[in-house]
Structures are given as structure tokens and as C-alpha cells.
Symmetry: C2
């Protein structure tokens, strides 16, 4: 699978940042994606916006200390979601 | 999509637990999945093991306070992964 030819993708993003940069990462995450819980986000993005998101994160992160992992799906329909306990994420999301 | 008829699935799991239960959740997560970073795990699981994982988490969690989100894929081939910064996850994983 490769998303290079796609206009948009469904992205799951999780970060592990040092405490002094967590707030900045959270702010960037919320700009592009829906906050799910803790340091987890998800949402549909155009490939252009996905590239912008990565550039913004790179600009604030310490690449020797901080970590971001993206799971990229061609379409949300390929994933099923399940919850245990409290659902913290926002129900409504405007890009 | 529904994984009910599947033998195995690829699972991404993220939890947000109160501090006093984080270590227990981590231990359960590692039993079934590969640790990726922070409170994030992934891996292939039989549907039976996935049910066991959920039961174990339910047994230790406070369902009014803690939160787990699962992303379930029929196959790992539907997801592409990308990293920024440090990659923390273990390379090798024995189930």
C-alpha cells in the first residue's frame, strides 16, 4: 500500500514527547486532527495537510528524544474501532 | 467491515489509565502486543486472544475513569506506518 497517489488519507497519530514540548505538540495535533485521548489523535487529512502536520511537528520536536508514529490508511472504512471504559474524544470535529 | 468472521486481526491499542493502574495495563499490553511508545501497542492477534486481552483490561480498569481505544484491521497490509524522531518500539516480538 502506498498513499502517494491519494488525495486524502485517514491518519492515526500518537506522540511521545518530553514534557516541556507536550503542550506544543498537542496544539499542533488539534489543528489537524481530532483528539482521541492522552497523546492520540485521528482524522481524515489531505496528503498536503498531512505533510504540513509533519513539518510543524518537526519544527518543535527534539528528534533525538521525541517520537511520533503515524498509521496511515487509504480510507477509514478499513478500520473498526472499539472502546473500553470512558470515551474521551470529541464527538464533533470541524477541520 | 467486521472482524467477526476472521481468525486473526491487526490491532492498534492505546490506553489512558489513571497513574495507579498504568503499570498493570502496561504488563497486560505487553503480554499480547508489541509495545510501540508511551501507552501505544500494536500487533497481530487471534480473535480469541483479542477477547482475552479485553477481558484482562476490564478486570483491572476503572470503567468510569480509564479509557482504551482499539483500532482493528483485517490485515496489516491495509496500514502504512511512518515515524518522526526516535523509534522506541522493540524490533523483535515473540507472541
Amino acid at each position: 500500500m502506498n498513499y502517494a497517489g491519494r488525495d486524502s488519507v485517514f491518519v492515526i497519530m500518537a506522540y511521545d514527547f518530553a514534557e516541556e514540548r507536550v503542550q506544543k505538540a498537542l496544539k499542533i495535533g488539534r489543528k489537524y486532527l481530532k483528539w482521541v485521548q492522552n497523546s492520540l489523535f485521528e482524522g481524515d487529512l489531505t496528503v498536503a495537510k498531512f505533510e504540513k502536520l509533519k513539518a510543524e511537528l518537526r519544527s518543535i520536536m527534539d528528534e533525538k528524544e521525541d517520537s511520533v508514529k503515524f498509521y496511515i490508511l487509504r480510507d477509514k472504512k478499513y478500520v473498526e474501532m472499539e472502546y473500553l471504559g470512558v470515551v474521551k474524544e470529541e464527538d464533533v470535529f470541524f477541520l
